[in-house]
């Protein structure tokens, strides 16, 4: 459960949802997919925003060739769901073309879970948690704030939201590490 301040609202949402409805995800197939929206006159496109965020926060550049997947899990929204999603990711060895981008939520996992996650997938984690960090405030087209960003040749080409009901189905489509 997250504790930011004023936090009362989302924290309580997280509390209510995680305690009452997150314990047994139904695995409903994902049906939503968000193409990159058109740019508005006043705000940058999400793909630019995402690339800038990765560069500014982690000095990370989206691979300029081929396809790459980023799993975005911030520390706001349904936190019980996000814990479950991180634990799910920690249980499988993913291909090097998969990167998990997360924030202070990582510190809620046990040491063993954190180690397993770091072993199984590339991890970009901004664990500065005394305040909402940029990942928690960036406006990506994910209704539950969690989702996949598919990039091709250095550009984000698709945003796939997932939530507590759909994450298993969506994440299962990611490429796995070859034995």
């Amino acid at each position: 459960m997250r504790y930011f301040f004023p936090l009362s609202f989302l924290m309580c949402i997280a509390g209510v949802i995680s305690s009452s409805s997150c314990s047994s995800p139904t695995g409903t197939p994902a049906t939503e997919s968000s193409p990159v929206p058109a740019a508005s006159a006043t705000s940058p496109m999400p793909n630019q925003l995402f690339a800038t965020y990765l560069h500014d926060t982690f000095s990370h550049t989206i691979p300029s060739s081929g396809e790459h997947w980023y799993v975005v899990i911030p520390a706001v929204g349904c936190l019980g769901c996000a814990h479950a999603e991180l634990r799910y990711l920690a249980g499988t060895a993913w291909a090097p073309t998969v990167t998990v981008v997360t924030s202070g939520l990582l510190r809620d996992l046990s040491k063993a879970e954190q180690t397993s996650l770091a072993r199984h997938v590339q991890l970009l984690a901004d664990t500065f948690r005394v305040a909402d960090n940029t990942l928690d405030r960036i406006s990506l087209p994910f209704h539950s704030l969690t989702g996949l960003v598919r990039t091709r040749d250095g550009q984000a080409v698709e945003f796939l939201p997932f939530d507590k009901d759909t994450y298993q189905h969506v994440l299962a489509t990611l490429p796995k590490r070859r034995p």
């Binding site: 459960m1 504790y3 930011f4 301040f5 004023p6 936090l7 009362s8 609202f9 989302l10 924290m11 309580c12 949402i13 509390g15 209510v16 949802i17 305690s19 009452s20 409805s21 508005s40 006043t42 705000s43 940058p44 925003l49 706001v76 929204g77 349904c78 202070g104 510190r107 809620d108 046990s110 500065f128 948690r129 005394v130 305040a131 909402d132 940029t134 405030r137 960036i138 406006s139 994910f142 209704h143 539950s144 704030l145 939530d163 009901d165």
Partner: protein, 398 residues
């Protein structure tokens, strides 16, 4: 003898009339000194439920507690009368990692009966620990018994401080069987009807059955509900006070069963807009709602001065359609001062650099966090409070 004379009755009537017509004294706040604690750079207390203050009036000592849930550590100090040479109080560390190792949930909240009797509640809301000052477990409960009749409930703090009074713990209850509230409107509205208040007595081992009183469920009139658990505090008499995000009313529930509603609006009050059910599942919508809509926040009791304090967040004029959303720490707010009868006797606006979730009522006055991580001037090594005292306001000259 005076009352036997007509003039005496007139004098008495005049006194009563003037008492009835007297305008409540207007009260403001005056900043006095800054109190600072040395803390780990990675820690900032972002919720009221992890702050605690205990006043040992017999020994004249004050205790401050800050729970670091990320590291399962209790940071605490006994405040000396005079500050140290560098004016920064050191915090001691007590590990609590052993408390809830059997659950996957982090610590959620704490309360203080006395410096050697600390209460901790886990985030899974299924366990309560009573420890001594060193964090050693003296007693642990896992109350699972159904309460409020046959409905299975769990116990939670609602992210409010764990209030203690005598041998009583003031908590909240949540229904275990409500189902998926974001997918099922019936489940959601069922949730709104549940009773949430819970008062337990720790003298009984199985105290889950020993609740007293029933308290209202979430309010949802016209969907202005701010699906937030009620803010609460406890009066010096042991009554439980509740408020709800969008509503100016304060609900007072005595353990005797007597209920009272008092309207205590902010002078900035504006009704919150409705939130459609569909937005419950859309966290972008929820965050936007939270940033822009006004909301009543923490409610605190000041037993030293027989007053109450109530936070009102004004909301931001526009929060969305920006690449990076504003922070909750950008929302301006004000602090209402209420008298013992819950009448508003003052309201002090605060800049967003002050933290409305970092307020502690102490013997010395009201401590309010005055440096937040989101704003310039924040020192990661220090937790800083400004001490405010009440000040009668002069009536404006006409």
């Amino acid at each position: 003898m005076l009352l036997l004379q007509p003039a005496g009755w007139l004098v008495l009537a005049g006194i009563l009339l003037s008492a009835c017509n007297r305008t409540p004294e207007r009260i403001g706040l005056t900043a006095t000194t800054e109190i600072r604690f040395r803390k780990p750079a990675s820690y900032y207390p972002q919720a009221r439920c992890i702050l605690a203050y205990y006043d040992d009036s017999l020994r004249g000592q004050e205790y401050f507690y800050f729970l670091d849930r990320a590291s399962n550590t209790l940071l605490h100090t006994r405040l000396a009368a005079a500050p140290p040479a560098d004016s920064v109080f050191a915090l001691q560390r007590t590990s609590l990692a052993h408390l809830f190792h059997h659950t996957p949930y982090p610590l959620e909240a704490m309360g203080v009966f006395a410096p050697d009797s600390l209460v901790f509640v886990d985030g899974g809301v299924h366990s309560i620990c009573l420890t001594n000052a060193q964090g050693q477990v003296r007693q642990q409960w896992q109350p699972r018994a159904p309460i409020y009749g046959r409905t299975p409930y769990f116990i939670t703090t609602g992210f409010q401080p764990v209030y203690t009074k005598g041998s009583r713990l003031y908590l909240h209850a949540g229904p275990d069987d409500v189902g998926n509230i974001t997918a099922d409107t019936m489940a959601f509205h069922r949730l709104l009807t549940y009773k949430t208040g819970l008062v337990l007595d720790v003298r009984d081992t199985l105290f889950a059955n020993n609740f007293t009183g029933e308290f209202p469920g979430f309010l949802s009139a016209k969907n202005n509900f701010n699906i937030v658990a009620p803010q609460s505090c406890v009066t010096p008499e042991g009554d439980y006070l509740f408020t709800y995000g969008s509503f100016s009313q304060i609900y007072r529930y005595a353990l005797s069963g007597h209920k009272q509603v008092t309207d205590a609006p902010s002078r900035y009050h504006r009704p919150a807009r409705g939130l459609p059910f569909s937005s419950l599942k859309n966290h972008q919508d929820l965050i936007g709602y939270k940033l822009t809509e006004p909301e009543y926040g923490p409610l605190l009791s000041d037993p030293y001065r027989r007053r109450y304090l109530r936070v009102y967040r004004h909301g931001l004029p526009a929060a969305l359609n920006q690449p990076v959303r504003p922070s909750y720490a950008d929302i301006p707010w004000s602090l209402l001062i209420l008298d013992a009868g819950l009448n508003v006797v003052g309201e002090v606006p605060f800049a967003p650099t002050y933290d409305p979730d970092l307020i502690l009522v102490t013997r010395r006055g009201v401590l309010i966090g005055n440096h937040r991580p989101e704003h310039a001037g924040y020192n990661p090594q220090q937790l800083s409070f400004l001490l405010f005292t009440y000040q009668p306001l002069q009536a404006p000259s006409s």
